[in-house]
């Protein structure tokens, strides 16, 4: 079973024979501790938060093994990936995917499905906490009202607006769900307070996880339906992330805050906003990884699948939709 590796501390990564060597180093660039060796076959991808020292031989080696490295800046923004060479090229799939983007009604139909799935999963979260003595009735009925309007939209920007309204109502409910923290408004780049930091950080993790799963299918990550295909972003990952954010990110946030795994002392606030300290990052990443590995019994496949695999299954469904095999139905949490 391949694993994701998260690098927080400054490390020199090199190829040693046919395996990976991790050498920690200090500010002066001197070795600071014993090397660790990790068999390359067990690595699925690298998430680089700290400083990484590596040469082209290493990247060639990673590329050969299909290992991507995702990079994040000081504020945990996703800055880019070293993407191993595409190994699943499918011309026909690409053409089919593009056609679904260019034909307006086909594109809107898919975009609606993403929002529909996202809204459903958001409502599921709210109802869960509503049943646990948090009064969220107003938010629930408001979002339900928005959700009924999804199918009536005819343009993508209109749909995006609706999605914005749903999210705003939803995020406003975070104050009620998480005691001791306030949400205020959603703020980004940089986020202004603790909840906003966790949302940004979590969304970025979710985005990277979706991107990683798309990479292992024939879909092209740059051709998206809800989000506008961007030149610098793998926007299909953003589309998929909409569906999974409530389940993967928001639930993890509620968990780490309500169980006090992440505390106010894990954040640092300064003039430019709020950042998550390394301790907080580690705790959150650990909780997020656990979430991805958690399994559920799949209804139609009749076997246990991990949350991470659910993302991949979503890619399969999307592939089948664009190839005209089976209509896409968004993932809706069923338990």
């Amino acid at each position: 079973m391949k694993k994701s590796y998260y690098l927080f501390n400054p490390v020199r990564l090199s190829r040693k024979d046919n395996t990976l060597q991790f050498t920690p180093f200090d500010e002066q660039g001197n070795e600071a501790g014993p090397c660790r060796y990790i068999p390359v076959e067990t690595v699925s991808d690298l998430y680089v938060f700290g400083s990484l020292d590596a040469n082209s031989a290493l990247y060639n080696f990673l590329g050969k093994h299909g290992i991507s490295a995702h990079f994040f800046d000081y504020y945990e923004h996703y800055t880019g990936s070293f993407f191993a060479k595409e190994y699943l090229l499918a011309g026909k799939m690409q053409v089919a995917q593009t056609r679904h983007y260019t034909l307006r009604n086909k594109r809107v139909a898919l975009a609606q499905k993403f929002i529909e799935g996202a809204a459903f999963n958001i409502l599921k979260n709210l109802r869960y906490y509503h049943n646990r003595e948090k009064d969220l009735a107003a938010s629930i009925s408001q979002i339900e009202k928005y959700a009924t309007q999804i199918s009536a939209t005819t343009e993508v920007p209109e749909l995006m607006g609706l999605e914005g309204n749903i999210r705003q109502t939803y995020y406003a409910a975070f104050d009620t769900i998480v005691a001791g923290f306030t949400m205020e408004n959603r703020s980004k780049r940089p986020p202004k307070n603790e909840l906003n930091v966790l949302i940004s950080f979590g969304n970025m993790m979710c985005y990277a996880a979706c991107l990683d799963m798309i990479y292992h299918t024939q879909l092209n990550p740059t051709i998206s339906f809800l989000h506008e295909p961007g030149t610098r972003r793998f926007s299909l990952a953003l589309d998929l992330a909409e569906i999974f954010k409530p389940i993967l990110v928001d639930r993890t946030i509620f968990r780490v805050l309500n169980k006090r795994e992440v505390q106010p002392s894990d954040f640092a606030t300064d003039l430019n906003g709020c950042v998550l300290k390394e301790s907080g990052k580690k705790t959150f990443v650990k909780a997020f990884e656990e979430r991805l590995k958690e399994t559920v019994k799949h209804r139609t496949l009749n076997k246990s699948v991990s949350y991470k695999h659910l993302i991949k299954l979503e890619c399969y469904k999307l592939s089948k939709h664009v190839m005209g095999i089976e209509e896409y139905k968004p993932f809706k949490i069923w338990w």
Partner: protein, 167 residues
């Protein structure tokens, strides 16, 4: 599109898989069964590489061909889909014949089961082969994907999640 031995093999397993494979929707990389098979293929007969040749004829690749004895070897992991394995070898023999090599035979090998089987091309096979190839061409050129197979073999197929994920 040239018809490969894989196409002939898949035709005898699942028409849907044949179509998906031909449309470049590949799943082999996700399958442990496939990598196991590959490992067996690479390690079962370590001495073979020196005497045998890999040949390519009409876009069809034969991994182990013994030109002196005119024998095609095909290594498989398990005999669960034996009909498909036999069809694959018969297609090799058919292609050899089309290229002027008469009287070649095949050996189907299951190293882990310690079973080997001799395969020859009979007149019935030749006429069957023409039918197979016509049907395969129809499937490859079809714009729609064949329906689900709903067979016990699906459970072990690398396309299982893809095919049966539903909602």
């Amino acid at each position: 599109m040239p018809i490969t031995a894989t196409h002939v093999n898949l035709y005898h397993v699942c028409h849907r898989e044949l179509w998906l494979h031909a449309n470049e929707v590949r799943m082999e990389h996700t399958s442990d069964t496939v990598s196991e098979g590959k490992l067996i293929h690479e390690t079962a007969y370590p001495q073979r590489a020196e005497r045998y040749r890999e040949i390519v004829l009409d876009g069809v690749k034969i991994d182990f061909y013994d030109p002196k004895a005119k024998v095609v070897h095909e290594i498989k992991k398990s005999n669960k889909a034996e009909a498909a394995h036999l069809a694959q070898i018969k297609y090799y023999l058919y292609i050899l014949e089309q290229n002027g090599i008469e009287g070649a035979t095949g050996i189907l090998e299951y190293p882990t089961l310690r079973i080997t089987e001799t395969v020859t091309l009979t007149p019935t096979d030749r006429s069957e082969m023409v039918k197979w190839l016509t049907n395969i061409t129809v499937i490859l050129n079809s714009l729609t994907c064949p329906p689900l197979l709903h067979a016990p073999i699906c459970k072990r197929c690398s396309y299982y999640d893809f095919c049966y994920v539903g909602e």
